[in-house]
Amino acid sequence: MKFISCLALLVCTVTTSVVYGASSNDALQLAKQLYDRPDGKDRASFGYMVLTEAGHKPRVRALYSYGKDKSYYDIWSLIRFTSPKDIEGTGLLTRDEKNTDSQQWVFLPALKRVRKIASSRKGGRFVGSDLFYEDLQNRIYTKDNHKILGKEVINKLPTIILESIPKNARDSVYSKRLSWIHRPSLTALRIDYYQGGSQPIKRLIVNKLAKKQGYWTIMESVVKDLKSGHSTMMRIKNIAYDQNLPDSLFTTQTLEDPAKEVAFRPSSITKK
């Protein structure tokens, strides 16, 4: 039975590939377009995550998130949690840089210290969510081999199925990713994550897309652990692009001083 399922999957995969007839160059171009999708020079948002699991009370984490593109490869980001109380003020500063390994610092209010942490960490679950640390990093498309498997309609939106396999298996916690890419918005409406087997272990579904200030933005998505059923819903309440966020926001000084960060929050994202 399992063999038949695998065979069916294989046939479908081959068939769709043949039908689509896309070259690997097309796939690479699509992956590049996805990486290059316009998202402003900088962005600031306020939102929350809801961690749910059958039979358990959901857990909610609210957070501010800031990002800034210093260059094509150099991307800085800062995440600050505002609730619940036990993680309030916790911050994560990441600097993705081309020439050096990414640098990452965490601020734990209870510790009152900024700690340098290994950005090579990929597999840990971020604050108990279904997001791995790798999911938070800015993975450049050249790290994967890409292939277009075909087309599919998701919720009435046409998508292209893109398979991405890491060139270096040690470079990613995933063995494969299948992304259903909505071309007009250059957004993956669904991503299946694999860890070696033929079945995905995790799935991301985009529930709501919106164009804000001219940029397509995922306003709501759900990541579900297909094995345990645990899921993480992420929702952005407010977002603002191109606010000229200063470099000083992405420093360890601001990381260790949550109150200092308040000055950099665009008023539009703090509204109710």
């Binding site: 109380k85 209870a110 960490r121 597999g123 108990g128 071309r183 309440k237």
Partner: protein, 727 residues
Amino acid sequence: MLLIKTCQILLGCTVFLAGGLLWAEVTLPPYRVFLNEEEALAEVEKVRAGGVRGHITTQRMKRVQTQLFIGPYYNKRSARRHAEKLQQQGMPAIVTFDFSSSQFLIRVGVYTDQQRLEAYTSQLHRLGYSNQVQQQKTYFQTLYVVKLHSPKPQTSTTKIAGINEQSPIDEVITNPAEISDDISEIATPPISEEITQVSLEEEKAGLSVSPEAADVAVAGEEQIIIEEQTTESALIVDTTGEDEIVIEGDEEIIVNIDDDSSDSIMANEDSQEIIITDELGAAEDEVIDVTDSDMEIVLDQETLADLDIEAPSAFDPSLKLEVSGGRLPRSKSLSDYYFYSLALASLQYQWSNQWEFKTGLRADVSKQEDITRSDVTLDYGENYIRYRTDRYRFTLGSQIVLWGIADEVAPTDQVSVQDLTQGIVPRWQDRHRAYPMVRWEYFKGDSKWDMLWMPWFRPAELPDDEHIWAVMNKARGTVFGFAPDPVQQVLVQEGHIHREKSGSGGAGVRFSQKAEGFDYSLTAQRIRRSFPYYQLAEPVRQSLLINPFDPYSAIAESEDTWLEIHPYTWVVGGDIAFIYKDITWRFEGGYSSDRPATELDLSVNNYPSYDWVFSGEFYPGDGDDRLNLQLVGSYLDTDDKLIDRKRLYYLNGQYEGLYANNRWRWRMRFNHGLNLHDDFISSELAFLGWEPHEFYWAAYLFEGSPRSYGGYYKDNTLVNFGWRGEF
């Protein structure tokens, strides 16, 4: 005659034509609106069979539905009983759980029809349920509009601008009229989910909307209907006949599918409704760059309702509570049971980007079996006022400042006040008290200067002298760091301790830098350590030198037997952290000019000392577990014969693992002496699944030689249960 015949023919033709037109108007309304795609497709097939062309557009309407609840009920059984009772009355009662209140509710239907809602509300009243709650939810509903005329060439097409050149969606047919963005409803009788099913079953024809009557109110969000018009379009047509998608956004854009008939959905700005009308049509060749507008695609209407989570305000109150109780199983323990509670309240207020204020207060309560009274202490927490600019930050008041990067024993962390009231049972970061100080921090890029001045010295917070965690324990007559001795026992139990609290705490400066690939810092301090050192008063010492076995005479020589001292010392040190092989390596070292130690003649002198910690932190298996291992060393640089240990080497560490989707946490800490038998291990298993509460079971095991930490607290081996929460 011919004229009469001609007139009759013309009249007949006119009547026929008028009749035909009238028939067409009556039997073929230009719109038929369906709630179901299959019905719409069937209608298209039907009209096409009749020689009339038709096609489908979809329209997504933002609607408001009201969920009617009764409750709350504090347990599910009670809620279920009432739900069954309502179901017997023919009401759609479903038990739900309200996460905001953690209580059960019974949902008695979802309504978009106000009359129906009122009818059910009245019925609930009659049944004696007055505890009703209504919740409104906005959602989108797709309507299938069948247009009964030949599709004409589109008049307004646009490429979706910008980001793709090979878009599967080739063309967008739009009419750029604007609609206000308030929520509105279909003016025809609103159809709830239940009603929809009934009407579909009974009528089998869907909802027919005439051009005049069909006031379709759409949420004031941008809305574009994208329709496949040509066979060349890359839009996928599936076997169900789906040929359209709808994109909705923040602003309304009126969509016109047909040009000349102009049957379109328009906005009536006054009524904030969209009205299906014949008049509107898109201007020819009008192009709308959709990238300039705010748009929205909702892919799943059944997602979780928006939670009431607001951005944090300038006021930030906080309350941390902890209650624990446990048993000390060792037979030589001073107490069989030990209880501890903590309440730590704080309020932080940031009234501008520059100014910030914080006030805090803590209360500690501990009780051990052998002491009849409870030990209750009140203490100030962090109470400061802070001013900041882009370049510097100035803080005045009591604060907790932790310098250095190592855990448990940071050689350069000499500017904080240690809290020893619970020994090392709390985690290292929780074993500090606020210290009154003036702090000035200067930032430049990734570097920072941090300067402190402690005008009033604050010694470590110690428990009572008879407390199980006392550093100088009168109940046992022991002093931390020294082997038990009969003379010493009398001196401790019968003597008096003079505590030195006066004077300044000193000052320090620290420079830290986040460099390329590594972080480092350098520090210089002239400070007084908060951890006490105990020295015999000089008359007592002289007496003991003359008669070493007569402690009572020695005690009689002086009002104070012991002096608790905190000598000034220079501390110069630094730390560095870097990543190598997926491990965060940290090294911290410090030189102290004056560390007190006791010579064989019981005199206390200050000696230079060196302290260092080398640690590696990593995540085994690249998972959720964290392990930090530290190698610790301390060396007193003197050739004098000392009672104190000159060299101390330890291996200590912490492990933290999260399990069952982070609902359980296991923490383990240990300390192992490398040149002296000295062991400590703690294990805490905590349930985190009911935030913000934590329930834990912990065990702390001490073992070692009498001069070691583990040996000194050997009888305090403890097993306890506790709860902590932060609100």
